[in-house]
């Protein structure tokens, strides 16, 4: 028994594999944040007036929050205060004015993506994946735009969308996550530099998986991207984002906002594989991942599904949520969160049932190793008019070693007696009997553990597009490596 313990305890030895820095000249904003920074960013991006006005409103609101010292403090994470004047709010790789094809992209940058295992080339066409890549703050290349545009789908960087379809942006921006939503949403609204935009017209089933890769490269940079996805009546889209960052001793802030809008009978599937730099094993460096993600099932019978595999970041603070407004709408949240080393994750979801016959499902799998702390925090709220709302929640935690923590704090608020809610949670360590059973079939303890943990996460991985499910499994294995010498 003791042997097994020691073996399990030696987890978290695996080093971060995406921690290289790409040497590219960057166009950076001066450090610090004031109205001029915001005007500078907005001018740099040649934005319409309404956009600048919105940013400034957000900024002024954020300033009041700073003054009132209203950073969120309820999450189960701890970190030193962030100096918001010590961050670069805009950093773009210096490149040609406009990129027409991948040939024009800085080869150094393309090599970066290769190292990340993201070949931005024809292979992706075969794989049926359209890619938008955000490097530090700016969108680098969007593939397959033409093919998508045949279907009337717009998939481009947020900046481009702002130039080409300001009407759509103006109508929807902030409609799901207003700038006043929380401290980081306000900050993001003021300074966001780019992101992805996606519009699926009525009745269109998007033929490709849409993918965005995010990478933070420049030192002392914050990344503040903003994603907006609109699925018109009867449309469908599956969207995936991946993230990585170089290894640096100092912490970097990532405060993104994602807004999803699903109209009648539309479905949005949003998957995330988050592997930001988690810091070293003593907790130096790493990304602060403070993200606000929310979808609105605005139309009848619409569906929004969040799937996330969170293995990176020093601190994760993230609650992808669904407002179930349309009758018969469905919200889903599938999550795997792994913390090791000194990582802290406080993540979960909110399902707000507003419409009738709305249904939600929450499956959360937390794995804690090393000195990591993993918290599931979730809210299920059934509003008075949400007749026949249904929720099923299952959040399980697995503990590896005795230095880590696993915490579960669900909030269940029911204001309608026709609602039916079930919540189940279970916390345990990797079962000794299971390990022995695997050993008895010839598997080493390390392999057995990896197998058991992958099995534990299966229900979530199954929700990922196939090739990303493979990637997620590999990522989990990489992160769990080093259990047996």
């Amino acid at each position: 028994m003791t042997t097994t313990n020691t073996e399990l305890n030696s987890i978290a030895a695996q080093e971060y594999r995406y921690g290289f820095v790409t040497d590219i000249e960057a166009d950076v904003a001066p450090k610090g944040l004031n109205e001029d920074t915001i005007r500078w960013i907005s001018a740099k991006k040649n934005e319409p007036q309404f956009m600048l006005d919105w940013r400034l409103k957000a900024f002024r609101h954020w300033e009041t929050l700073v003054e009132a010292d209203s950073t969120p403090t309820w999450a189960n994470v701890s970190y030193p205060p962030i100096d918001y004047q010590d961050i670069i709010y805009y950093s773009a790789p210096k490149a040609k004015e406009k990129l027409e094809s991948l040939d024009e992209v800085d080869p150094e940058l393309l090599r970066t993506y290769e190292k990340l295992g993201i070949p931005l080339d024809e292979q992706k066409r075969l794989a049926g994946v359209a890619v938008d890549a955000i490097f530090d703050s700016v969108s680098i290349a969007t593939t397959f735009r033409e093919e998508l545009s045949k279907h009337g789908i717009i998939f481009c960087s947020f900046s481009e969308a702002l130039q080409e379809r300001p009407d759509l942006i103006r109508k929807h921006l902030g409609s799901v996550v207003p700038y006043s939503d929380n401290f980081y949403a306000a900050l993001n609204a003021a300074v966001f530099s780019d992101g992805s935009f996606c519009y699926i017209p009525k009745g269109v089933r998007c033929p490709l998986e849409l993918t965005t890769y995010f990478r933070i490269n420049t030192a002392e940079t914050g990344q503040f991207e903003r994603t907006l996805i609109i699925a018109e009546e009867g449309s469908y889209v599956s969207y995936l984002e991946g993230c990585s960052a170089p290894m640096r001793d100092e912490n970097q802030l990532h405060a993104a906002v994602v807004e999803l809008i699903a109209h009648d009978n539309a479905e949005i599937k949003y998957s995330t594989i988050q592997n930001w730099y988690p810091g070293d094993r003593d907790g130096r460096g790493g990304i602060y991942n403070f993200v606000t993600k929310r979808g609105k099932c605005q139309g009848k019978n619409s569906k929004i599904s969040w799937t996330q595999v969170e293995t990176g970041s020093a601190i994760t603070w993230k609650y992808p949520s669904v407002i179930l407004q349309g009758d018969d709408s469905i919200g889903e949240f599938y999550s795997v969160a792994l913390t090791k080393g000194r990582q802290q994750a406080d993540t979960g979801t909110k399902m707000i049932h507003v419409g009738r016959n709305t249904r939600s499902r929450i499956i959360s799998k937390g794995i804690s190793g090393g000195r990591g702390n993993n918290t599931y925090r979730g809210l299920v709220r059934v509003m008075p008019k949400a007749d026949n709302a249904r929720n099923f929640t299952q959040c399980d935690s697995l503990l590896i070693g005795d230095q880590c923590g696993a915490h579960t704090t669900p909030y269940v608020e029911v204001r309608n007696n026709t609602a039916h809610l079930e919540h189940e949670a279970y916390t345990s360590r990797v079962d000794e009997d299971m390990l022995f059973y695997c050993n008895q079939r010839g598997l080493s303890t390390e392999d057995a553990q990896s197998l058991i943990i992958n099995g534990f996460c299966k229900e979530v991985f199954r929700k990922l597009p196939f090739e990303f499910a493979v990637e997620a499994t590999r990522l989990l294995d990489l992160n769990l490596e080093g259990t047996v010498g």
């Binding site: 935690s397 880590c404 704090t409 309608n416 007696n417 609602a419 949670a425």
Partner: protein, 444 residues
């Protein structure tokens, strides 16, 4: 409206000063020092009225309490109750040790205390502060932390009247100790602050029942604090039966500490109260301690009932089981906040927690927050929560067997709570609880 907290020094501080000069003046020095310290804590804490960042009181807004023109109850301000007044609250036969408190004051005439120095004793706390000073001092104010809890600080600041139950090592309290706290004042806005100290020595056995109730329709606050110390191998049954009027505010904190191999069986029944908040905390601070904490709450009209149950597994091989069920009708609102903490040394802990709510009306509300805080790896912890209305399928099944809808509904509600009531360990308490529940369900 100015809340007490912002006033700096509360009106209660002056009350304490005058009591210390008068009724409390003969008390031992240690309790006077304790009260003084608690008063200064309450002066700085006030009531937990903040609505932002106040996770512990998220679902319980105590501003109605903080804003009420509360005053300390005076001895004898209500007419002397008769035996028939208190008869509805009694249980067991006349041989049970019983202490009755009216508006917080010990009523000798209605009570049957127990105890000699060497035996198990059930005594008035005010007397025990003198006769059992050493035992009382060891635990009183030591278990229930008042440094960060306004209500506990306020109770501790006036710790004097109350009950003292002591079972020396190896002894068994043959009959359950029944402690009855009734409010009778008709003037209203009184504060009574019962204090209970239960000290169960190594290997001892005891059962303690606290009953809270009203002999008046006037509003009041009952702010109770109970401390239960279960020594190594001790087995304690702890029952709380809350039957206040629907005008009453009740805040009750029970803090139990379990020694090695100790066992705590608790059952809480909430029937009355306008605003009720119970904190039940069990600290399992030695190996192999175990507890079962169960409860039923029934609420209707505009009642607010909030149960916070925390089990702190600090040492290895502890076992805990929790089952709470609520039935809500009208615009009643209930909250259940159950926390299980498993600390680093608490390997091989097995904990299970469950809360279920049945909502009988479309305006009733149930908020549930079952939380885990786990720092040990070799543990088994589970929790479940469910909220919903009566299952239509079951209803139809019963109706198809000839039962009227109303009858079928009652049967199902009864069945829903019976699962918890069946867990009440002592038969006499179980049947008492079952009767009270049955009667109250008719009013829901």
């Amino acid at each position: 409206m100015t809340s007490i907290a912002t006033a700096g020094v509360t009106p209660f501080a002056a009350d304490l000063d005058s009591l210390e000069r008068d009724g409390f003046s003969q008390d031992p020095q240690w309790i006077r020092a304790l009260r003084k310290d608690a008063m200064s804590r309450f002066n700085s804490l006030g009531f937990p009225t903040a609505r932002r960042g106040n996770e512990e009181w998220k679902y319980t807004d105590v501003r109605p309490i903080a804003q009420a023109p509360l005053r300390l109850a005076r001895a004898g301000e209500a007419p002397e109750p008769t035996a028939s007044d208190i008869a509805p609250f009694l249980l067991g036969d006349g041989s049970w040790p019983r202490l009755v408190f009216i508006d917080g004051f010990f009523n000798r005439g209605l009570s049957t205390p127990l105890g000699g120095q060497e035996d198990a004793s059930v005594l008035s706390l005010a007397g025990a502060l003198h006769s059992r000073s050493a035992t009382a001092r060891e635990s009183l104010g030591r278990l229930a932390p008042y440094a960060s809890h306004g209500f506990t600080a306020l109770n501790t600041a006036f710790a004097h009247e109350g009950a003292f139950v002591h079972i020396p090592d190896g002894l068994t309290l043959e009959k359950p100790a029944h402690l009855i706290f009734l409010t009778a004042s008709r003037e209203g806005h009184t504060v009574s602050q019962p204090r209970v100290l239960v000290v169960a020595g190594a290997g001892s056995k005891a059962a303690v029942i606290e009953t809270y109730g009203s002999l008046t329709g006037a509003p009041y606050l009952c702010n109770a604090v109970s401390e239960v110390a279960a020594g190594p191998g001790a087995s304690v049954e702890y029952y709380r039966i809350q039957r206040h009027s629907e005008e009453a505010y009740h805040v009750g904190t029970t803090q139990a500490a379990l020694g090695r191999d100790a066992r705590l069986d608790s059952f809480t029944l909430d029937l009355g109260g306008a605003l009720v908040r119970n904190n039940l905390n069990a600290l399992i601070d030695a190996p192999d301690g175990s507890c079962a904490l169960n409860g039923v709450y029934l609420a209707t009209r505009s009642q607010r009932v909030d149960n916070q149950v925390t089990i702190d597994h600090a040492k290895e091989r502890g076992t805990s089981r929790e089952l709470y069920k609520g039935v809500l009708s009208g615009r009643a609102k209930a909250a259940f906040h159950g926390s299980i903490i498993v600390r680093k040394d608490a390997q091989k802990v097995d904990a299970r927690q469950e809360d279920k709510n049945l909502l009988l009306s479309d305006r009733a509300e149930a908020n549930v927050k079952p939380a885990f805080w786990i720092y040990a790896d070799d543990v088994k912890c589970g929790h479940g929560a469910a909220s919903g209305r009566i299952d239509e399928g079951s209803l139809f099944y019963l109706q198809s067997r000839g039962l009227g809808e109303e009858e079928a509904r009652n049967l199902l509600v009864q069945g829903f709570v019976n699962e918890v009531i069946d867990k009440v360990k002592r038969p006499s308490v179980r049947s008492h609880v079952a009767e009270l529940v049955k009667a109250r369900l008719k009013e829901l």
